[in-house]
């Protein structure tokens, strides 16, 4: 059986832009010039620099905005009978009560469940990496790939509000204006996407691979 070796352990860095492998001198070597890829001149590093701290910072910012995003009104409907304020949840309840239960379910998943699942999963990934966990790296790698895939779908409510604001503009009957909640909501989506991008999935495997090498030293 061959040992599964990580490129970093062999002193090879993968260029994130062009996929070229380059030998990277050890970090201790004091060099003035930053190492760059020979083919495309992009900066080279073994892992995304400062990945954990940047991910934490973006994640905490996203958590802080999650509550205002869900509690503040995302749009205000002005009509001769007064002003109605809609939060994300009241919009979903309206869809449900008007019989569009499938759509209500989609919006509920995209706007309330997804952002929370995303924030909690990323926290879990960061926590297991920080703890040096070696358990189930494949499951965690798949979870990360899923997060990359689903994050964008939370933008749904931002687009719905945009279109409703643009269309419902009959001054004598009804007009809709965007609320502060939708700004916070957009910020949560952007921050959690940035946090996912800042996280380096290779960190999940680094510890797990170390343990495999220790277990089979004769490979």
């Amino acid at each position: 059986m061959t040992t599964r070796q990580s490129a970093a352990r062999c002193g090879l860095a993968l260029c994130e832009v062009c996929g070229q492998m380059s030998p990277l001198p050890p970090a201790q070597t004091p060099t003035r010039a930053k190492p760059r890829c020979a083919r495309c001149r992009s900066p080279l590093h073994l892992r995304k620099p400062d990945s954990i701290n940047r991910t934490w910072a973006l994640l905490i910012a996203a958590y802080l905005l999650y509550l205002p995003a869900n509690l503040l009104p995302i749009m205000e409907t002005h009509s001769p009978f007064g002003t109605d304020e809609d939060t994300i949840l009241s919009g979903i309840i309206f869809l449900w009560q008007s019989g569009s239960w499938l759509l209500a379910l989609i919006v509920f998943s995209a706007s309330i469940v997804l952002p929370l699942v995303k924030l909690l999963s990323l926290t879990y990934l960061l926590w297991t990496v920080k703890r040096g966990s070696t358990r189930n790296p494949l499951g965690r790698a798949r979870l990360y790939r899923l997060l990359e895939l689903i994050g964008r779908w939370s933008m749904l409510d931002v687009y719905v509000v945009t279109l409703l604001v643009a269309l419902v503009q009959v001054q004598s009957l009804a007009s809709i204006s965007p609320g502060a909640g939708v700004v916070a909501f957009g910020a949560v989506v952007v921050l959690s996407m940035l946090a996912t991008m800042a996280f380096d999935p290779r960190l999940i495997w680094d510890r797990a691979a170390e343990r495999i090498t220790q277990e089979s030293p004769h490979a």
Partner: protein, 224 residues
């Protein structure tokens, strides 16, 4: 130095050296892919590594040209029309973005502009910039920065989410008034499919191999 053998690399781009999985950093020895439309995955984490398609550059070119036409028509025509008691209102993407700006939600307006207009345009423009010269066998100028722009734009182009947003708004508005889906919604639908096709055809390994095979631009050839 040991590495996992891999059952495949595209014949159009023969492997020159070891590669590493971008998602788990496993060192791999690439082997040519024989079967068209096949794709190599990392044996440890299952990440997409590279793929093999016949006439990839021609297909990329055709899909991206179609996508540019769809993109331009999608911006030019209204997405949804609304009939509230005799008053007909319709909006284009730019109209909706402009309305948010007037409502003094500049940040939000910017976010919608970036994700529905700017990033899809940057993505498509970058693909055309790279693929047209490569298809003719010439290296495009500024390959690396343009490729980086494409990589940066890709996750922020959210055409498919926007379409779902249009559908949800249609249902919400249908309780208020008569709604008429505009021509742009079909263009956006086609654009979504074209972008998905482009995403499955594009992979950095083969594009960079095509770059290595192509003739150097005169300026680069002058360099020592």
């Amino acid at each position: 130095m040991h590495s996992e053998p891999l059952p495949a690399f595209a014949p159009e781009s023969p492997p020159t050296a070891l590669i590493a999985c971008p998602e788990c950093d496993l060192l791999l020895q690439p082997v040519p892919l024989i079967q068209p439309r096949s794709r190599a995955q990392c044996p440890r984490c299952g990440a997409r590594l590279y793929s093999f398609y016949n006439d990839r550059l021609e297909k990329l070119l055709a899909l991206s040209c179609a996508a540019v036409i769809m993109l331009l028509t999608a911006y030019a025509f209204p997405i949804v029309g609304l009939n509230i008691q005799g008053t007909y209102i319709e909006t284009t993407v730019f109209g909706a973005i402009d309305k948010l700006w007037q409502e003094e939600r500049e940040v939000l307006s910017g976010l919608v502009f970036v994700t529905t207009v700017m990033m899809p345009s940057v993505e498509l423009g970058a693909i055309l910039w790279l693929v047209i010269p490569l298809w003719r066998g010439v290296r495009p100028p500024g390959f690396a920065p343009v490729f980086r722009a494409f990589q940066m734009a890709h996750p922020w182009a959210m055409v498919e989410v926007f379409i779902l947003g249009v559908l949800v708004s249609l249902v919400k508005l249908s309780h208020l008034a008569d709604v008429l889906p505009g021509p742009a919604i079909w263009c956006f639908g086609c654009l979504m499919l074209l972008l998905a096709g482009l995403a499955s055809l594009l992979d950095p390994y083969t594009l960079w191999h095509a770059w290595e095979d192509a003739r150097a631009t005169p300026a680069e050839a002058m360099e020592p």
